[in-house]
């Protein structure tokens, strides 16, 4: 790293994240979007690569990034505006999913955030664009992001979207930012659309996942794992009881989600929902330690202790042949040297590049983390 | 130059349209082309452009107006109650006045002049009747070959004008009867059925001699001055009748709009009743018997009954009373593409719509179709297999009644 200007060092020192481990990099925790924007301006002028850190639970996703500066959201970690009667909440990106959901639960509400590891932050979830199991019923996380406030790679604080549940006002910047993995800037606050938690829920074992998907009326999820298939229901008590009976099964109250997959190699296989059955069959032959298939959604998450490069290649080719993808969530280097976690460059790569360049002209925000070198 | 006739669409009439576009999906020509210029809203935009003197009444304007079937399905869809049929007749009158030599001049002359003359229609009917008997239709060119879809014209050609029919007992009332132009000779069976059914119900039926063609075809083709003359003649001819029965959908629809065409037209219009309406009412009042039966029959709705007059249930009621079980073919009631002279001016569009309609009828698997309009009947026959029978609901009712 070249020598930094004194003013830069002073800024970094002032915003230093006291809670972060000192691993030789600058770790800073801005407390406002304006501070974050100022940091981005300085980083751009100094040519420093910046990584963004929330809970660190998704930090292995994407191409590895060597950052000179780490910006954490730990100083933007509270609920800013919760309007239970509007079914909206505005929250600092650094707040954890667990804390937010626990608070929302006091009014029997939920942001339908994914079932993440402890410590995962809202900012991290939005940046990775990951959705939870209840996506089948409530749609992906991106559908609930109403507004984001962010500091762009060119050092400006901007707002995308509107704090209302329905808007057709300008370009969907909030949709662009969701899933952009910090490659456009730092997400400071997020406004989310809320749902009420169902009065009653049940986890119902079923023998045929595809059959349950066809039979049940809008279940929360239909998951299949190495331990069998389950249909997850939500609604009034009467509704859950009758739907359980219609599935010709006995359920247990509450939602018992599968244990998270903690294997060193974790893949997300994404295929059209009608190909999930075939994909599961293929994956079983690969003898994974764990797998969770989301029927009706098209995602199969797989955990391996070890995985042959060739077998991995076959799985990826299969998904691509279905116009899907196989993304390595963890342990790309364990599969083989130079394994690309994404697989291939996205469609309309020219447009994608121009978006990256216009939001991050100095290429300092998680440079290269996305497919296609974005 | 803007408008030159008294029939032109007025600014107020044109501004009733709020451009909402709810008419687009029901417009048959928009359905085929997807082209705004082939939609009611687009046609109104074109009329407004002339009204505002932004464009001339030129060939393209004539083309845009000419593609309209005048089926008036848009009027039903319109929440602003725009009188589109009337606007289109006005626009066509302008085309006729400003582009006298444009390509519809032939049909305009036929439907504006010749048709008003009983002798001309009789002469033509003789010719067609003779051709039919010589089985020459196959050598006729193009659309004239459709003559095969015509009913065989009785020779000598009949006429109802100047006649009256009495019921068996004391009449419960007298109704005037429109003989019409081609109906009189070409669809005399329908006339007979209607008159006999009305007699059965106890009506005296009078077809005054001095009546003429209703003028609908003339109005549709832009022969507005001729149409106005015919309307005036009929206003006089039907003076004194409390009720005037009309058994062709195109004629009854047009005469209900006589207010636009002649002094005293409003008054006659208020006394016009379509034969389907009257006979359905008589069935409701038990003045006519219901005949048992449930023979399935496909039903086709003439646009000028269903869209222009809101008469859809009545023909079905008559069919049920005749011992049939109506089977729906088209929930939207889209035009079959016959549309009077349209099949001559726009054979391609007419054929596309005719095919679509025949496909709907074939989907029922039935070879018996009820249609309450001669133009539709011809179009259906032209596009259906030769084994398919197309008949008027009242004809079927009369057949059932007399063979009881």
């Amino acid at each position: 790293m070249t020598t930094l200007r004194t003013s830069t060092l002073r800024l970094f020192e002032r915003l230093r994240d006291e809670r972060a481990d000192d691993d030789g990099r600058f770790v800073v925790a801005p407390a406002s979007l304006d501070e974050a924007a100022a940091l981005m301006t300085v980083a751009a002028s100094e040519g420093l690569a910046v990584a963004f850190l929330g809970g660190g639970t998704h930090s292995n996703i994407g191409n590895p990034v060597t950052a000179d500066l780490v910006v954490t959201t730990s100083n933007m970690a509270s609920i800013i505006d919760w309007q239970p009667d509007d079914l909206t909440v505005v929250v600092g990106a650094g707040m954890t999913v667990d804390d937010l959901e626990a608070t929302l639960a006091e009014r029997r509400q939920t942001a339908v955030l994914p079932e993440t590891a402890p410590g995962a932050t809202i900012g991290g979830v939005i940046a990775t664009g990951v959705s939870g199991y209840r996506r089948l019923r409530y749609g992906p996380t991106r559908d609930r992001v109403l507004r984001v406030e962010m500091a762009t790679g060119y050092g400006k604080a901007i707002t995308g979207g509107s704090l209302v549940v329905k808007s057709s006002t300008g370009y969907g910047v909030q949709r662009l930012v969701t899933g952009s993995l910090g490659s456009l800037g730092l997400i400071g606050t997020v406004a989310l659309k809320l749902w009420s938690r169902p009065i009653s829920t049940a986890t119902v074992p079923v023998t045929d996942a595809a059959g349950a998907l066809a039979t049940a009326y809008r279940p929360l999820a239909v998951l299949e794992t190495e331990d069998g298939a389950r249909c997850y229901l939500g609604g009034t008590e009467e509704e859950v009881a009758s739907q359980t009976a219609e599935l010709a099964s006995d359920g247990s109250a509450g939602l018992s989600w599968p244990e998270p997959i903690g294997e060193p190699i974790r893949l997300s296989v994404r295929v059209p929902p009608h190909d999930v059955g075939e994909t599961v069959a293929l994956i079983r032959e690969m003898d994974p330690t764990r797998w969770i298939a989301q029927h009706g959604v098209g995602i199969v998450t797989v955990g391996f202790e070890r995985l042959e490069t060739d077998l991995f290649g076959d799985l990826r080719s299969w998904a691509v042949s279905r116009r899907g993808s196989t993304v390595v969530l963890d342990g790309a280097e364990l599969i083989g040297d130079g394994v690309d976690p994404w697989g291939h460059a996205p469609a309309a790569i020219e447009i994608q590049r121009r978006i990256k360049v216009s939001f991050d002209p100095a290429s300092i925000c998680n440079p290269g983390i996305l497919p296609g070198g974005l | 130059m803007a408008w030159v006739t008294d029939f032109a669409p007025t600014t107020v009439e044109l501004n009733a349209c709020i451009d909402c576009g709810l008419c687009l999906p029901v417009c048959p020509t928009f359905g085929v082309t997807g082209d705004e210029s082939a939609s009611p809203r687009g046609r109104i935009a074109a009329m407004r452009a002339v009204d505002r003197r932004l464009v001339e009444v030129d060939e393209r304007f004539a083309e845009v107006m000419g593609l309209c079937l005048q089926c008036r399905a848009c009027e039903v869809a319109c929440p602003s109650l725009v009188q589109f049929g009337r606007l289109m007749e006005g626009a066509r009158a302008e085309v006729a006045a400003q582009l006298p030599d444009w390509r519809t001049v032939a049909t305009r002359t036929v439907f504006g002049r010749a048709i008003a003359s009983r002798s001309a229609v009789v002469l033509l009917s003789w010719v067609v009747g003779a051709v039919q008997r010589m089985h020459l239709a196959s050598v006729l060119p193009g659309s004239a070959a459709k003559a095969t879809a015509l009913r065989t014209i009785p020779l000598p050609v009949p006429t109802t004008a100047g006649h009256e029919w009495l019921p068996e007992g004391e009449p419960i009332g007298t109704v005037g009867f429109l003989a019409g132009c081609v109906m009189d000779q070409w669809y005399s069976d329908v006339h007979t059925a209607v008159i006999q059914v009305l007699r059965t119900a106890g009506y005296r039926v009078v077809a005054p001699k001095n009546q003429t063609c209703c003028g609908a075809l003339a109005a549709h083709e832009g022969a507005a001055y001729d149409a106005a003359k015919m309307a005036a003649q009929n206003v006089e001819a039907f003076d004194g009748f409390d009720l005037v029965v009309v058994d062709s959908a195109g004629c009854s629809a047009h005469m209900k709009g006589y207010g636009h065409w002649a002094d005293g037209g409003d008054d006659l219009a208020s006394r016009i009743i379509d034969a389907n309406e009257l006979i359905a009412t008589l069935l409701d009042a038990d003045l006519l018997p219901h005949i048992e039966g449930d023979t399935p029959i496909a039903v086709q709705d003439p646009c000028h009954l269903r869209h222009a007059q809101g008469i859809a249930e009545e023909p079905r009621e008559i069919l049920r009373a005749a011992g049939y079980s109506p089977v729906e073919t088209d929930p939207a009631g889209t035009c079959c593409g016959a549309a009077g002279a349209y099949q001559l001016d726009h054979p391609e569009m007419s054929a596309i719509l005719g095919m679509a309609k025949s496909t709907q009828v074939r989907a029922t698997g039935l070879n018996l179709v009820a249609s309450a309009n001669p133009g539709c009947e011809m179009q259906l026959k032209a596009h259906l297999d030769s084994g398919t029978v197309v008949a008027h609901p009242i004809e079927l009712y009369w057949d059932a009644l007399r063979s009881r």
Partner: protein
């Protein structure tokens, strides 16, 4: 604010041509000095019957359902994606802007053609293909009519959830362009949540597919940007729609109130219980009277407000939810609660609601319609302000709302031939938008920005926000040839900073 469906002569006649804002790129009319007439090439490509250049056609295609008129040079009606791409390449070589159009039912002027532009009409791309009943998706042409899609899928037990009032005419492509809403978007979200992928022709004339049946395509979510972009980012030629299971049971209720506050409180109380009905629609008294005069839907014309509430789902759930809504209604002094006994009664209730605007057209020669959204809890406050503004100016106001979403459609009926009346109405309507924005609301819930609200964007976005949006637009369309002059106001690009 936009003026919709006004009878103002200018709008009707196509003489009120919008002018493009002068800006750094794309929006400078000077760029469109057409030196190369593309007509010959276009006719070679499509045939004369699918290329219009006559003045009467240019007027026919000059506007949508809004009031502003543009002035296209050429109108083309392609049949395939390849033809669309070829048209875009011809236009691009000639330096002519392109405006995509569906059924032209938009109210914000999104399809109003820029001067000298080529209008690409997409109605003929209307095939419903590849319906996937397991994945509950379908690839459809942008020209497929919204209601036709749900009708075509009825026997498979599926439907497309967004149901704008224009659904019998408006196309899926148009719904994508405006991120259309509708009553049932309360529970299901607007169009953005129902589009999984699009095939589109880029500004360069390339054909790309973004998104798809497989979830979470790596890379930026371009799909999410395309939705609501009003044809400024690409020409959508196929759409992958998400389909929703038809509910096994539907309960539609009409709740009748003495005043609008009771109705509004009922909405708040329902939402506060956590219940999200399929729809919560409200009409105030003037609107009830207008609708009833036209529709004869059996609405009580002496009521202060009515609420249409619909719950859908499993019968064991709907019965409980309907009872809850009824209880809340009673608690708020609903004087009558009617439940539709069958599909016909339900259809009648909805017909009244969905034809509301048309009914208005008969009560006065002109009307001025707005579309704003406020946070639900500010709904009553803003409503009072809107009424106060109308009263202040002596205007006749009626309201129909997507109450559950906080989405207003205040409607002023007037006669534009009265001197000064149009100005007064526009002024009042602007004040209403300001009231909504001041309460934390935004400009449009479902109609889009188009031309009509373009110059109000600064009310809700900072210059930096607008600049960011301009960057996105320029990434898709560096030359500024796709539907120029829409969405972003003049000066949206902070040029000096970008060039620095």
């Amino acid at each position: 604010m936009h003026v919709a469906n006004s009878c103002a002569d200018a709008g009707r006649s196509g003489s009120e041509v919008f002018t493009l804002p002068h800006d750094r790129r794309g929006d400078d009319p000077g760029r469109y000095d057409v030196t190369m007439d593309p007509t010959v090439e276009l006719i070679d490509l499509l045939g004369a019957s699918r290329v219009h250049t006559h003045p009467v056609d240019r007027i026919i295609y000059a506007k949508d359902s809004g009031v502003t008129a543009g002035d296209p040079a050429v109108i083309v009606l392609p049949d395939t994606t390849e033809e669309v791409a070829a048209v875009v390449r011809i236009a691009s070589r000639a330096g002519i802007p392109i405006v995509a159009r569906g059924a032209g039912t938009g109210l914000a002027g999104g399809a109003v053609p820029a001067p000298g532009s080529i209008v690409i009409v997409l109605t003929r791309l209307n095939a419903i293909e590849e319906v996937d009943e397991i994945g509950r998706t379908a690839w459809v042409g942008p020209g497929v009519v919204n209601l036709d899609l749900s009708r075509a899928l009825a026997d498979r037990g599926l439907h497309f959830a967004p149901d704008p009032a224009s659904q019998q005419s408006s196309t899926i492509g148009g719904n994508v362009g405006t991120n259309a809403g509708g009553p049932h978007c309360l529970a299901e979200g607007t169009t953005a949540a129902h589009i999984l992928g699009v095939e589109m022709v880029t500004a360069d004339g390339d054909v790309v597919i973004v998104g798809g049946e497989a979830p979470d395509e790596p890379g930026y979510d371009l799909r999410g940007l395309i939705v609501g972009s009003e044809g400024t980012l690409g020409i959508v030629t196929r759409v992958l729609v998400r389909l929703i299971q038809n509910p096994p049971d539907v309960v539609t209720m009409l709740l009748v109130f003495e005043n609008i506050h009771q109705a509004a409180q009922t909405v708040s109380d329902i939402v506060a219980t956590g219940l999200v009905p399929a729809a919560l629609e409200m009409m105030d008294q003037p609107m009830i009277v207008a609708v009833e005069n036209f529709m004869h839907a059996g609405l009580p014309t002496d009521a202060g407000a009515v609420l249409i509430a619909e719950v859908v789902g499993h019968p064991a759930g709907t019965v409980v939810e309907a009872a809850l809504i009824e209880e809340i209604g009673r608690r708020n002094d609903a004087r009558e609660i009617r439940t539709a006994a069958d599909d016909d009664e339900r259809a009648l209730l909805w017909k009244g609601r969905k034809n509301a605007f048309g009914s208005i057209a008969q009560s006065a020669p002109d009307y001025y319609l707005s579309d704003t959204v406020v946070p639900r809890t500010r709904f009553v406050d803003v409503l009072d302000e809107i009424y106060a503004i109308a009263e202040r100016d002596g205007l006749r106001l009626m309201n129909v709302f997507h109450a559950g979403d906080g989405n207003f459609h205040p409607l002023v009926t007037f006669d534009a031939s009265e001197p000064g009346m149009s100005e007064k109405v526009i002024n009042a309507a602007h004040d209403m938008v300001h009231a909504a924005v001041a309460a934390g609301g935004t400009l449009s819930g479902e109609h889009g920005i188009g031309l009509e609200k373009r110059d109000l964007m600064h009310l809700v976005f900072t210059p930096e926000d607008l600049d960011a949006q301009a960057r996105i637009r320029d990434a898709f369309d560096p030359e500024g040839s796709l539907n120029p002059g829409k969405i972003l106001p003049a000066g949206a690009r902070l040029t000096e900073e970008r060039d620095a």
